[in-house]
Amino acid sequence: MVPDLSKLENIFESNPKEPGSLIAVLQDIQKEFRYLPVAALKETARILRVPLSTVYSASTFYKAFSLTPRGEKVIRVCKGTACHIKGADLILEQLESGLGIKAGETTPDLKYTIEVVNCVGACAMAPVMIVNDKYHGNVRCDRVLRLVKKD
């Protein structure tokens, strides 16, 4: 899959072309492509006049960025404190065995990505899982896979 880099133009238009825009531009690219294509990062370095190494460094420092394509459905399992003591590990285990991938990985058909996040701020409903942007609270480990496949 070759990313359509013509979409980059809008992103560069809507941000000031200066080094200070680096994080904002990377966020926009991540949103547009669901990951950071190498070619897009090289273009970012050129347009914002930031060393490529810095662009790569930022891409690996912040968790919001991914250098490999993410799945259509990004399943984020919250591992905040409340979720941890209420069994977030079980949910993750169900997902990992059910989808056959580990946290941080994407299924080969690019359908699912499992991610672990450090607290999404819905602790009162722990344990919490987010499928794309949809929050699921009080998730039971025996319902995890059904929830994922349903949405």
Binding site: L52, S53, V55, Y56, L67
Partner: protein, 241 residues
Amino acid sequence: MLLAVIRRQGIDIPALCHHEAIEPTGNCRLCTVEITRENWGGWKKYVTSCLYPVEEGLIVNTHSEPVMQIRRTILDLQLANCPNAELIQELAAEYGIHETSYEKQPEGDNCIMCYACTRICEVLGCSAISPVNRGHDKVISGPFGEAPPDCIGCLACAQICPTDVIPWSDKDGVRTIWDKKFDLVACKKCGKTIITREFADFLIERRKLPREYFNICDDCKRQELADKMGGIISQAEEAAL
């Protein structure tokens, strides 16, 4: 900064990430000292002397027991992290540690993550390499883990590295560093090599140096100077006769 004053006094304290050519960042923490003031009522603070500004009335203890404890523990941790780094072994031994108390890292590559290499590369104006990932997974690398496109093979990173972990080689007129190969400028007279073609071009462009300065090596340039002066002398002598 405090470190300069301490060293000027001839007091030896370790500082692995410190180098005059780069801005201090306080990564290694070994230059930590204890500071207090008369009016602090006995309260003490632990600061890295490479970053702490010199102030009137500051009372500095460079070798108090808590400071020594900090240095010992840090060296102990580094010894676990890079068990094969000679510099760390020597320094740790100086502080009485011969075997680490912690779990040794089998994958340890002797990098103490001092950032000296990335900082010197930034000073140079190339920023070809950078810290990648974060936390314990942090490594120094070129973009995408590949040969860094902005690297000019100047060797500053490898030279400044306190634990000598950046591999490089000069062989058959080719320098290899960061998995990138560079042609070395060969002396037109004797073939001796000193720096890479890209570094020479970089200096010629950035520093407006004449290209011919880089054509021959230092040995041949000295001979050339002697020959040139000798020629003038001979001419003068002939004229005098």
